[in-house]
């Protein structure tokens, strides 16, 4: 129990955004299922996917979807690791690595979306 944890902002933000992204993901998954499975039978064909993604609004939607899913996943992983004594001892590394993975996922996925 160190007394030096003043101003550790990742914890409250992690908690709040975990709830927000959780709610967003619920809506996003439904919308994604709707446009890929419920609108037409050939929505998953390559040409259809390309056509859909040429729409900037859909692109933006998928980027937001990606960002929410990555945050939720890596922040969740961060919390699971910090729940252990091992994670507690390596707190800085756990925070840095999981948040780095989140950024990498968003940037890499974002690049793929742009090139599409």
């Amino acid at each position: 129990m160190s007394e030096s944890h003043t101003r550790k902002v990742l914890e409250p933000f992690g908690w709040i955004f975990q709830m927000i992204t959780g709610l967003l993901l619920f809506a996003f998954v439904i919308f994604h299922l709707y446009i890929t499975h419920l609108t037409s039978h050939d929505a998953l064909e390559y040409a259809k996917v390309v056509e859909r993604l040429s729409n900037p609004a859909i692109k933006a939607f998928y980027w937001l979807f990606l960002a929410s899913a990555s945050f939720h996943a890596f922040n969740g992983l961060r919390a699971i690791l910090l729940d252990t004594d091992f994670g507690g001892r390596n707190e800085r590394a756990v925070n840095a690595i999981t948040m780095l993975l989140f950024v990498v996922a968003v940037v890499y996925g974002g690049l793929l979306l742009i090139t599409f």
Partner: protein
């Protein structure tokens, strides 16, 4: 009414852990603690357990009875059944038989500054601090904690991370933060908002389930968590 019961006790002698059965005739109205005293006085004097007040006030007799942490002095033998499995509390090192080392538990309690903090402390000229009944009710329930450790024993977050402050300590912090006379909220919020603090709670609420004083530590932890989040976000803009 009298009936034969079996006390199956998980014992520890400093080296090995083993289960031992004790059979005796219990009468209606006998508590688990009376059963333990009966064993100690008549069957095996080496049995070790803690107790003091025998009336649910001191918090020293908490043990696991059939898997659930309870106060031995407030549990009727016949309410449980005819076979009682009695074990020491979890998440604390066992010293002997039913006695666990509560030092870490109390250190965590101490760490959150569980006392009124006033800027104007003046013991020479004490002054009365007034409080309305509403202000009292804001924290009253949470002040009933007897530090028995039942909540800490049932808490899954305390099981996986040994420096997690735990439900009792965070409840104590909340009890003072919610007190209108207190001025130490900032100190305590900083103490409970590290990675070993409120964020480790998964709101399983097992603590509220087992607390013999029904004070709902899970509620206090969640409130403390919200308070910490608001406090830390505000502190960025300061």
């Amino acid at each position: 009414m009298e009936r034969e019961v079996i006390f199956r006790i998980r014992r520890f002698d400093g080296e090995k852990t083993y289960w031992q059965d004790f059979r005796f005739t219990a009468r209606k109205g006998m508590t688990v603690l009376e059963g333990l005293y009966f064993i100690k006085e008549n069957l095996d004097g080496s049995l070790a357990f803690r107790a003091s007040c025998r009336m649910g006030v001191c918090g020293s007799c908490a043990v696991k009875i059939n898997g659930r942490p309870r106060l031995a002095c407030e549990t009727q033998i016949f309410d449980i059944g005819s076979t009682l499995e009695i074990e020491p509390l979890d998440n604390m090192p066992v010293l002997k038989d039913l006695i666990v080392d509560m030092d870490g538990f109390f250190r965590k309690h101490e760490a959150v500054k569980p006392y009124l903090i006033r800027r104007d402390d003046d013991y020479e000229n004490p002054k009365e601090l007034l409080q309305t009944p509403e202000e009292l009710h804001a924290y009253y329930d949470f002040s009933l904690c007897i530090k028995c450790g039942a909540c800490y024993s049932a808490c899954p977050a305390s099981a996986t991370r040994s420096d997690y402050l735990g439900p009792a300590a965070i409840t104590a912090a909340y009890r003072f933060c919610a007190d209108s006379r207190d001025e130490g909220r900032e100190d305590r919020l900083n103490l409970v908002s590290g990675s070993d603090g409120v964020w480790r709670c998964h709101f399983n609420a097992e603590c509220s389930e087992v607390c013999p004083k029904s004070i709902e530590p899970a509620k206090a932890v969640q409130r403390m968590r919200l308070m910490s989040a608001i406090h830390m976000i505000k502190s960025i803009f300061r």
